[in-house]
Symmetry: D2
Subunit: 253 residues, 4 copies
C-alpha cells in the first residue's frame, strides 16, 4: 500500500496581480515563476521531497517526510523573498489522486484562488512518523524510446515537441483515469508519475495504451521508498536497466 | 507580412550528462533547468525577445532585435555560469514554423544533440536592420474563459491541469498544422503563440476548433510589433479588452 | 561554554579557473559567486545554519545541527548545478577562532586551494547529538547607531561606505584578537559575530574599543541557542531592544 | 580625461522592512540581497556596465552606455520580481568620487533612505552619445601578490580574510582621499577600482602606500574603454601581464 503525502502549492491571487495595475512584462513573470519553482525544488527537495511545476501558479509536491512545520518555514521563506505569497495544503489518501483531491478541497474551502484576502493559508496534516513505511511512495520515470534518434535529430524542434506533448497528454490522462496516478512532464522526453500500488503489468498496459493512442513508444522504470527522492532515484536506476535491456518496464521491488 | 526571427536553443549533450556517472538528483536537474530558463528569459527579454521553455533542454526564442553578437554573449555568459553549455541556431522564414525548421536543421547539420564533441555551436544570421519592420512579429495571447471559476476553484488541481493541458495539446497541434504558428504554454491558463500573418477570422476559427475538439473555451488577444516584447504587450492589452468585452478575439492592428 | 561547529567552504581551484583559458567576464563571475552564496544560505539556512560570504571563493558557515551527510548532500547539489566544485571541512573548538583554525588546517592538509587534482574534499566531524546543548552557539548582531541619519542621508554613498567599512575592519580585528570571535559584514550597517562565551561587559568593551579606534558608534544584541538560527534570531530581538532603549548592549540570556 | 557615469542604487526603505512586523530570517535576507546583486550584475553587465555590491542595500554601478530608459527597465524588472523596490540616481563628474557625490545628493533630495513614501525614484541623466569617448572609463584591477601561497594555504581562513580586509580598507581609503577613485572588493583577493585619469606612477604610489600602511603587497593592471566591461577586461589582461612579469603595475594605454 502506498501512502503518498501531497502538497498543493498555490500562489495567492496571482492572476489579478499579473495584470495590476497593468499587464506586467511577460519575461519578468516567466523569470519569477521559474525561479519560484527552482526554489521550491530545493526547499522540498533537500528534505527528500519532489515538486512539479504543473501550471507554475499551482504546483504539486510529493511531501512525504516533510512536517507542517517544514511547510510553514518554506511558506515564510518564500514570503520573505518574493513579491507574491503562497498557500499550502497537505493531504494523504488511498491514491495520489485522492490525496490531491483532499488537498485542493482544503484550499478551496479556505477561499478562492483569486480571493484578495486569502493569504498564506496552511492547511492539512503530515503523516505521523509511526505510520510511515518504506513503501509509502511509488514513482515511475518514463521516457521516450530513442527520442534523440527518432525526433530531436530529425524533426524541427516544435514538431519534436508536438510528439512529446501528445505522448504526455495521452499518458497523463490515462494514468489519472485508469490508475489514479499523477504524471508530470519534467523536461526533455521525461515524465515522472506519482503512483498508487501498481505492478509491472499495469505499467505494461499504460505503455501500450499510449502507443496505441498516439503512436509514441515509452519505456519506464519504477521505484519505491519512504521519500520521493528514494523512490525517484530507484526509478531512475530501473529506467537505466530498461534502456540497457531494451525492455518496456523495469520495476525495482 | 511577418518576419519572425527564431532561435533554437539546445543544451549540448544534456541527456547523457544527466545520468553520468550515475543518475543525478532530480531536484537538482529541475533547479538547473528552470534557472537556466529564467536566465535566458532575462538575457533575451531585456533586449525585447521572448523565450519559451518548451522541453527545457531545447528551448525556442523569438529573437527579433538580437544580433548574432548578442547571441554569442548569451552563450558565453551561460557557459561561464553553468555546468553545461548550449548551442544556438538563428533563422527566419515565411512563417514561424518555417523559420524554426531552418534553425533546427542548421543545428542538426552541425551534429547530434547527443554528440560529445559538438559544443557551443552558433549558427545562422539575424535580420539586418534595414529589413526590419513594425510588423515582423505577431503574437497571440490565449487564456481560458473563467478558468478560476470553472476549474481552479472547483476541481482537484490535477483535474484542472488535465483540462488546461488537453486544451493546450489541441491548440498547439491545430495552430501548427492549420496556420504554421507555434504555441507555448506559459503557466496558469495562458498560452502565447508566435504567429504568421493571421486575421481575426483565423483566430476565431482556432478558438472554435479547440472548443469543438476538447470542450475548452478560449479567448485571445493579438498584437504586432518589431520585437516580441512589443507584440506580446499589445496582445496582453488586447486580451484585457477581450475579458472586459466578453469577446472571443481582440486584434490590436 | 559555547561549542560552535564551523565549516570552511572553499571553491576548488577557483582562481585559475577564472582566468582559463582567458579572463572570464567579471559580471558572470560576480553572478556566479553571489548566487552560490545565496544557494548555500538556503542550503545551510534551512537546517538552522548561517553562512557568511567572507571572500566568496572561501566562505564560513556556522553549521551546528548539520551532519556530515547534510554536508555531502550540499556538496553534491552544488556540483550538479555549477561549473565549479567545492570542498568542505567541518570542525569544533573551544572558541570560534580555534574551530575554524582546525577546519582550515584539515583542508590545507588535503591540498592547496589551487591544487588541480584536489576536488570535493569533505573533512571533519559534526557534533554528536548527545553532546549538543542550548548554549552551543552565541551570536552578536551589531549595527551602527543612526547610520541613516548620520551617514546614508548625509554623505555620498562611498563616504558612508568608508565609515561602515572602517568600523567593520576595526571590529573584526579586535573581536578576533581580544576575544577569538569571528565577525562578518552582512550588508547595510550590520555585522554578525560568532562568539565564544562573552558577557555584557565584554561586548561593552568591544563597542568602546571601536568607538575609540575609528569613531564609529555601535550597538549590539546578543543571543544564544543550539543552532545559529536560534541564537541569531535572539540577537536580532535583543538588538531591537537596544534600539528601543538606547542602550549599547542587550544580552538575551 | 575620464567621464565616468555612476549610478547609485538604493533599496527603498529597506532597513525598516527587514524588521517589520518582526525581524525576518537572516538567511532569507542574505539570499534576497545576493540574488538582487546577481540580477543587477546581469542587467547592467549585459549592457557593458559593472555593479558593485558595496553594502547590498546600497550598490554602485558604472553605467556608461546605459540610458535612463535602460535604468527604467531595470527598475521595473526588479519591482516585478522582488518584495522590495529600488531607487536609481545617475550622474557624471570630473572624478568618480564627484560623480557619485552628485548621484547620492539627487537621491537625498528626493527623500530619506528610510522614507516610507519615497519609492522607485529615477533621477539624473546619462551621457549623450555624441559626448562619449573611448577614454571615459578607467578601471584598475588589483590583487594580492601570491595570496594563496602566503595566506590561503597557510593561515586559518579568517586570518587570511583579516589580511585581505585590512589591505582593502587601506586601499579604498587612500584611493578615495588621494585620487578620488572608488575601490570595491569583489571576492578572493581582488579589488576593482573605478579611477579618474591616473598614470602608472600614481598606481605605483598606491601600491606602495598600502604596503607601507598595512604590509599587504598588491599588484595592479589598468585598462580604459568607453564601457566598464571594456576597461575592466583590459585591466584583467594587464593584471595577467603583471603576474607574468612580476611587476607591480601594468597599464594598458
Amino acid at each position: 500500500m502506498t501512502n503518498t503525502q501531497l502538497t498543493h502549492v498555490q500562489i495567492d491571487n496571482y492572476g489579478p496581480w499579473t495584470v495590476t495595475p497593468e499587464p506586467r512584462r511577460e519575461v519578468d513573470l516567466q523569470t519569477l515563476q521559474s525561479r519560484l519553482y527552482a526554489d521550491l525544488s530545493q526547499l522540498f527537495g533537500n528534505r527528500g521531497g519532489y515538486v512539479f511545476f504543473t501550471r507554475f501558479d499551482n504546483m504539486i509536491a510529493v511531501s512525504n517526510g516533510l512536517t507542517i512545520e517544514d511547510h510553514a518555514m518554506i511558506q515564510e521563506s518564500v514570503g520573505n523573498r518574493y513579491p507574491v505569497t503562497m498557500s499550502l495544503s497537505v493531504a494523504t489518501g488511498t491514491t495520489p489522486a485522492a490525496a490531491l483531491e483532499t488537498a485542493t478541497e482544503q484550499l478551496q474551502e479556505a477561499g478562492s484562488a483569486q480571493d484578495k484576502s486569502r493569504r498564506e493559508v496552511l492547511e492539512g496534516r503530515h503523516i505521523d512518523t509511526e505510520f510511515r513505511t518504506d513503501e509509502d511512495v511509488q514513482i515511475a520515470h518514463f521516457d521516450v524510446v530513442d527520442a534523440t534518434g527518432k525526433y530531436t535529430d530529425k524533426l524541427s524542434e516544435f514538431d519534436t515537441f508536438i510528439q512529446i506533448e501528445q505522448g504526455y497528454a495521452a499518458l497523463m490522462k490515462y494514468m489519472r483515469e485508469a490508475h489514479e496516478g499523477l504524471s508530470f512532464f519534467v523536461g526533455g522526453d521525461n515524465v515522472i508519475a506519482v503512483c498508487p500500488d501498481m505492478d509491472a503489468a499495469d505499467y505494461q498496459d499504460v505503455v501500450e495504451h499510449v502507443h496505441d493512442d498516439v503512436g509514441v513508444e515509452l519505456q519506464v522504470g519504477v521505484g519505491r521508498g519512504s521519500l520521493a527522492e528514494e523512490a525517484g532515484m530507484a526509478a531512475k536506476h530501473a529506467l537505466e536497466s530498461s534502456r540497457a535491456n531494451g525492455t518496456d518496464v523495469e520495476v525495482d521491488f
